[in-house]
Point group: C2
Chain length 477, copies 2
């Protein structure tokens, strides 16, 4: 079992100040001895392909320059690679991969290194193939809105390029200032507005290297409105969602929910308590955002939606943001949740795809289970067990503080929640990817036939298994 | 070169009355001798898996019962299979395919058999695995709108199931009364509202058999509005489209265009000329549809869009449908185009994906090219060369009548337009699939590396090549 401490960040920069774990044991994993070790001859070859300032070669993986590429954003996974390459063109990527394949050198593709599943860092001495210097916007068609871009374009840079042209990126993530579009594709990024724009699909670097991406970008919305409502059961949260689809339909761009325990955690860490937009204590809260082309129309729709919620006794309280600053404040109460629980202690994070009615049942069943065992509560093994997520796409984030940081506590929770998800036809990952962190659960989550097909495709496209080894596909036992 | 006569149908039932070609030569294709021929032992096995009324076994492929499965919807491609199987469960599909793989029996997956590229009929004696009897709606979640259905569910039946629940299928095709969702997925169906809902992706039955489909269905729109406008250049058509995205944004559900030659063809075949909604002769027409949740808002948006079009001198004339009957009439002028040209003579159809500004340039260049050669016009080799399509997704349908039905005329046009598309970074198929009809052009359209990857995936998943052989991937030359 891997030792790990994971949390999902919607404001990833926040955690740079946290104390890093000094090391992470990759318990049970052994370096694949089929892979060659880097020689001076290899370095000479890479120098013939890339210019010297696009190569970091540091035989000591602890040296500062290489270390940042060996360690993931959260200091949870740490490899010991001595080589990081920064290709600038597809041709260079192709030459590097051809050489690595011929010489059995393992490779880990890396973008902005903001992933939460340890997929973008080496496990042992894999060569890091970093896309940061492939950052050109190749082509934009103002008629269709199609943008063709290099893999290493940072999400926010693409956004800044598109906005003056009246277009926007159909993807919004907390890590947008650092994450790269090639990594977004590779890790199946979803984000806050999946409900309106859909998500991306990739193979986490195990089948190849994404060198460029073609995106159909939507128009920049002329109006954005945000409301926050209070509800007293998860059943009414679901009702409010169905009514939002009825009344807001094409302008509904986000429907986020969280429980009151989430608010308590944020209040304990982040904000002046008096600022929370809704008074009193309610079991659930939801944030509803609209994006549309006519402010007046959108406000009228949102007003009549909110009115109907109260008339039907679905919502108990609610507030409408009066300006973009207020809207930002409402959002921050949702976005600060993962960061706040991480600040409260060692935090475990989960990311499930489930049928909407089951989303909070999972949280309740998990609470019940560990409560009955006497393991949940202040000064117990687990505390602050909270649930929040994207109702629109059936995506639950379950998080808890682990008060004794040892393998037992993590794996006890893992076993319960992963089993629960699998038993209820859910997915063990919705938008965080499998990476290294969930690879050991794939045997439970997938049938033998599914794993066999994954392995068959992997073997066909990457017969020597050099692309992001140890990730996603479990080793044969 | 294959002899073929293709047309795209948005009202597929129309063509059932056309005289069928008596045979189609599969020139240059030979039956793969690695495939076994069906024996009585095989039939005994299939009888042990499927009930007798789910097997058609007719050693004479011309016998009526089996013939309808050997011939495609347009009577263009004709196989000579003696066996058509109708599994009712995924398990049966699995047993049949396992047996066929073990015994090297080639298989062609078939749904509603409404494809336009000959992908769903046997080329020689492949066993037809028809999905018509796998037609259950397995599960529908009214909260999320997720529908899980068998592959053989007919698109219109799914629509009728969803509508009373306030949901709709995010795909609309002319063949919806016959086509099946498994086939839609397999052939990358796009349709009339791709711009709003996106399209599907599949492998045309060459990598496996789609047994079920999970669909996120959107709310049934409360209001649908349709306008038709006249424009005098393709540049202004594009301007009108950009303005539609600005003004109609989230409610824009279709933006179709066609040239005046298309109208002439429809008028000559289908309708009372006095009925065309816009008087006078204009170079281009566009149909704009909105789907939304508030009729008043949508009409206001559409009105101000149309006003702006006239103010900016983009549109020359225009009409708004006053009711759903008028809206249907407007649509019919667009939908009758392919059928009308098919009625005018032997019709060739093409389906290209191109950058928006190039869509009509292709039509103009093709016209110029064959005009200069003296081959275009009444009583010439080609007549009625028209262009129409889905501007929103960069999808051009180019069609023409071929007045001497021989191989030379077809391939002369093929070579010019496919080369043109490839030279301009376009795709030789947007939504019609490759099937058998374009397999010979894949070597031009794809690089060796792309074809090698396709072949590698095919070999990995289907090592004996039994799944829909002869289609999509060209034989090694």
């Amino acid at each position: 079992m891997l030792q790990r401490r994971l949390f999902h960040s919607s404001k990833a920069t926040l955690y740079k100040t946290l104390t890093p774990l000094t090391h992470v044991k990759h318990a049970g994993l052994k370096r694949n001895s089929n892979f060659a070790k880097i020689t001076d001859k290899d370095i000479d070859y890479f120098k013939s392909v890339l210019s010297p300032n696009n190569i970091i070669y540091e035989p000591d993986p602890e040296s500062l320059e290489i270390k940042q590429h060996n360690v993931d954003w959260f200091n949870l996974y740490r490899g010991s690679s001595s080589l990081c390459l920064f290709p600038t063109t597809t041709e260079q990527v192709s030459k590097v991969l051809r050489y690595c394949n011929q010489h059995s050198l393992a490779v880990v593709p890396q973008g902005g290194n903001t992933g939460v599943s340890g997929g973008a860092v080496p496990i042992f001495d894999e060569i890091i193939l970093n896309s940061s210097k492939m950052n050109k916007i190749r082509h934009f068609d103002e008629i269709s809105g199609v943008a063709v871009v290099d893999c290493g374009v940072i999400l926010e840079n693409l956004s800044q390029f598109l906005e003056p042209k009246g277009y926007t990126v159909p993807l919004d993530l907390g890590a947008k200032g650092s994450c790269q579009i090639g990594g977004n594709v590779s890790t199946n990024a979803g984000g806050l507005r999946l409900i309106k724009y859909g998500n991306l699909h990739g193979a986490e670097g195990t089948l190849g290297y994404v060198t460029g991406v073609s995106l159909l970008t939507p128009r920049l919305p002329k109006a954005v409105n945000v409301a926050m409502i209070a509800l007293n059961s998860f059943e009414t949260v679901q009702k409010a969602f169905v009514m939002a689809k009825e009344d807001l339909s094409e302008i509904l761009s986000a429907f986020e929910f969280w429980d009151h325990e989430s608010v308590d955690v944020v209040k304990s860490q982040m904000m002046d308590q008096s600022n929370y937009p809704i008074e009193g204590k309610h079991a659930f809260y939801a944030l509803i955002e609209t994006q549309g082309s006519n402010r007046e129309h959108d406000q009228e729709k949102l007003d009549s939606y909110i009115t109907r919620l109260f008339q039907a006794d679905v919502a108990k309280d609610g507030v409408l943001a009066q300006d973009s600053k207020q809207a930002e404040t409402f959002w921050s109460w949702r976005e600060e949740i993962p960061g706040s629980i991480a600040k409260s202690g060692t935090a475990m994070t989960y990311d499930f795809g489930l049928d909407a009615p089951l989303l909070y049942k999972m949280v309740e069943d998990t609470k019940d289970h560990f409560d009955k065992k006497g393991l949940l509560g202040k000064d117990k093994l687990y505390s602050n067990l909270i649930g929040f997520g994207h109702l629109g796409d059936g995506n639950l984030h379950l998080m808890a503080n682990l008060n004794e940081f040892d393998n037992g506590g993590q794996s006890l929770m893992d076993d319960f929640v992963f089993d629960w998800a699998i038993k209820h036809n859910g997915s063990i990952s919705a938008e965080h990817g499998i990476g290294i962190s969930k690879v050991h659960y794939m045997k439970k989550a997938k049938t033998d036939a599914q794993l066999r097909i994954m392995k068959t495709l992997k073997d066909a496209l990457d017969p020597k298994g050099i692309m992001n080894p140890y990730k996603i596909i479990p080793e044969q036992s």
